[in-house]
C-alpha cells in the first residue's frame, strides 16, 4: 500500500543500522506508526533535517505489515519554534502518545489536539495548564473521559466550594469508594479543568495529581524520562 503525502508530526527517532532512522510518527490520517527512513543519515541526504520533532511536515510511505518505508518528506514551512522548557513539554507530549496510543489506529482528533497544543505552547500560554488540558483531551478521545461537571453518585452539579473524592474509573463523589483508587480534589479544581479558563497554582497542583493518577492506569509505573528532565531543568534554573 502506498500512502500519499499528508500532514504528520515526528514523535521520536532512533538510529537504525548505520545510515537509517526508525521514525515514530503521528499521522493525521493513520494515527501513530513507525517508519523506516532508509539512508537519511548519509551526508548528502537532507531528509533527516526535516524529520524533527515539533515540526508539521508532510510524509509519504509504502506500507507492508506494521512498519512503513518512508518515501518522501516535504517541508510544510512550519516555523513553530519551541524554546527552552517548551521543548521539554513537547518531549512529554510525545512520550505520552508513544505510551498511550497503539500503532496503526487512526485518530484524527488526536492530531488536531496535538497541533493545537503545540500552538498554545508557542503562544506563551500557561505551560502546565496547556499540558493538563492535553492530557484530559487525550483521555477523552481514547474513551476514558473525565467527569468534571457533576457528582458521579448523585448527578448534582460540582460545587466549587466542596471537597470531592475523584474515584478512578468512576468520577467525583463525596465519599471514598473502598477498593478503588481515589484522591481528594476541590470542586474549584474540577471546574477549572472543565472550563479551561481560570487557573492558579493550587488548581495546577490538584489537576496534576488527578491526571497523574488517571494516566497511570493506562501507562503504568515506569517513570517518564521527560518529566525527570523537566524536574532537572527547574532545579537547574532555580538553584543558586
Amino acid at each position: 500500500m502506498r500512502v500519499d503525502l499528508h500532514p504528520c508530526y515526528v514523535l521520536h527517532t532512533r538510529p537504525y543500522r548505520e545510515t537509517s532512522l526508525l521514525v515514530d510518527i503521528l499521522s493525521s490520517d493513520y494515527g501513530r506508526l513507525c517508519l523506516v527512513a532508509k539512508g537519511v543519515k548519509r551526508a548528502k541526504n537532507n531528509k533527516a533535517n526535516l524529520l524533527q520533532i515539533s515540526k508539521r511536515i508532510s510524509l509519504a510511505w509504502s506500507q507492508r505489515g506494521t512498519l512503513g518505508n518512508l518515501i518522501e518528506v516535504e517541508d510544510l514551512g512550519d516555523r513553530v519554534n519551541l524554546i527552552g522548557s517548551k521543548i521539554i513539554s513537547c518531549f512529554y507530549m510525545n512520550e505520552l502518545l508513544m505510551r498511550m496510543l497503539h500503532t496503526n489506529e487512526p485518530h484524527p482528533e488526536i492530531f488536531d489536539i496535538y497541533q493545537q497544543t503545540l500552538t498554545n505552547l508557542t503562544q506563551n500560554q500557561d505551560e502546565q495548564k496547556t499540558l493538563r488540558i492535553f492530557e484530559k483531551k487525550i483521555l477523552q478521545v481514547l474513551g476514558y473521559g473525565l467527569i468534571l461537571d457533576h457528582d458521579a453518585n448523585t448527578g448534582e452539579q460540582i460545587d466549587a466550594n466542596n471537597k470531592y473524592y475523584y474515584v478512578a474509573e468512576f468520577g467525583p463523589c463525596m465519599s471514598k469508594n473502598n477498593g478503588l483508587q481515589s484522591i481528594q480534589i476541590s470542586g474549584k479544581a474540577l471546574k477549572a479543568l472543565d472550563d479551561e479558563n481560570i487557573w492558579d497554582n493550587d488548581i495546577a497542583k490538584e489537576a496534576k495529581r488527578l491526571l497523574r493518577m488517571l494516566l497511570k492506569i493506562h501507562v503504568g509505573d515506569k517513570p517518564f524520562g521527560s518529566r525527570e528532565l523537566y524536574r532537572a531543568y527547574l532545579q537547574n534554573i532555580t538553584a543558586v
Binding site: R14, F224, L229, N236
Partner: protein, 197 residues
C-alpha cells in the same frame, strides 16, 4: 562447512564495521589473507591497543589514552574559551575550523525518550570546570536539531548561573551556497541571525 572456522570467525568479526555486510567482509578477509598479512597484523594490534587503552579525558571527556588529552594539556590553547559539542567527531570538525580554545564533549544530547538525561552528559564536570573561574565564554556547538537545541538551552542556563558569557554557533547559509537551493528552515535561521555589514 566449506570454509575453515577461523575464516568464519574473521568474517563475522569484520561485520561489526559500519557499512560492512557479509559479502564485503568475505572480500576483505580474502584480500588480507592473500595479499596483506603484514598490514592485517598491524591493524589487529592497533585495534587491540586502542580498545584497551583509549578512555575519556578526565576534563573534556574526549577520547584519549592519556589522563588529560593533548588539547586540555596544551598551554597554547585559550582556556578562557570553552566549546561544548555533542561528539568527538564534532571536535575534529571544529578543530578544522582553526578554533584555538578548549572543548567539552557531551557524548550525546538530551533525549528523554531514550532515557538520556543531564547526568549522562557529564554536566556536573562541566559545572566544576566553570566554577574554577578560568572560562570566560562558553560556545554552544550542539547540533541544530530539536534535541541539540534543548541541550544547548539546558546548558546555557547552567552557564548563566555561573555568570559566564554564553553564545550559540550561528546556523545558516553554507559558504558557497546558493540561496535557491537552501531549505526554508535554514534560510529562516540565517535571516533571524543576520548581522550588520
Amino acid at each position: 562447512m566449506s570454509s575453515s572456522s577461523r575464516l568464519d570467525q574473521l568474517i563475522t568479526a569484520l561485520c561489526c564495521l559500519p557499512g560492512i555486510g557479509r559479502k564485503s567482509a568475505q572480500r576483505i578477509s580474502y584480500h588480507l589473507l592473500q595479499r596483506n598479512r603484514h598490514g592485517a597484523r598491524d591493524l589487529a594490534s592497533a585495534l587491540q591497543l586502542a580498545m584497551d587503552e583509549i578512555g575519556h579525558c578526565i576534563r573534556c571527556r574526549n577520547f584519549t589514552e592519556l589522563e588529560l588529552c593533548v588539547i586540555c594539556s596544551n598551554n597554547n590553547r585559550d582556556k578562557s574559551l570553552l566549546c561544548v559539542v555533542e561528539s568527538p567527531a564534532d571536535v575534529f570538525a571544529v578543530e578544522d575550523a582553526a578554533y584555538r580554545g578548549v572543548y567539552f564533549v557531551l557524548m550525546g544530547h538530551l533525549s528523554p525518550l531514550d532515557g538520556v538525561g543531564p547526568e549522562d552528559l557529564g554536566l556536573e564536570k562541566l559545572d566544576e570546570i566553570m566554577k574554577e573561574g578560568e572560562v570566560k565564554e562558553v560556545i554552544m556547538a550542539t547540533n541544530s536539531t530539536v534535541e541539540g537545541e534543548a541541550t544547548a538551552h539546558f546548558i546555557s542556563e547552567m552557564v548563566r548561573k555561573n555568570k559566564i558569557k554564553v553564545s550559540r554557533i550561528a546556523h545558516g547559509v553554507p559558504v558557497g551556497g546558493e540561496l535557491e537551493y537552501i531549505d526554508s528552515g535554514t534560510l529562516s535561521e540565517a535571516l533571524s541571525g543576520r548581522r550588520e555589514i
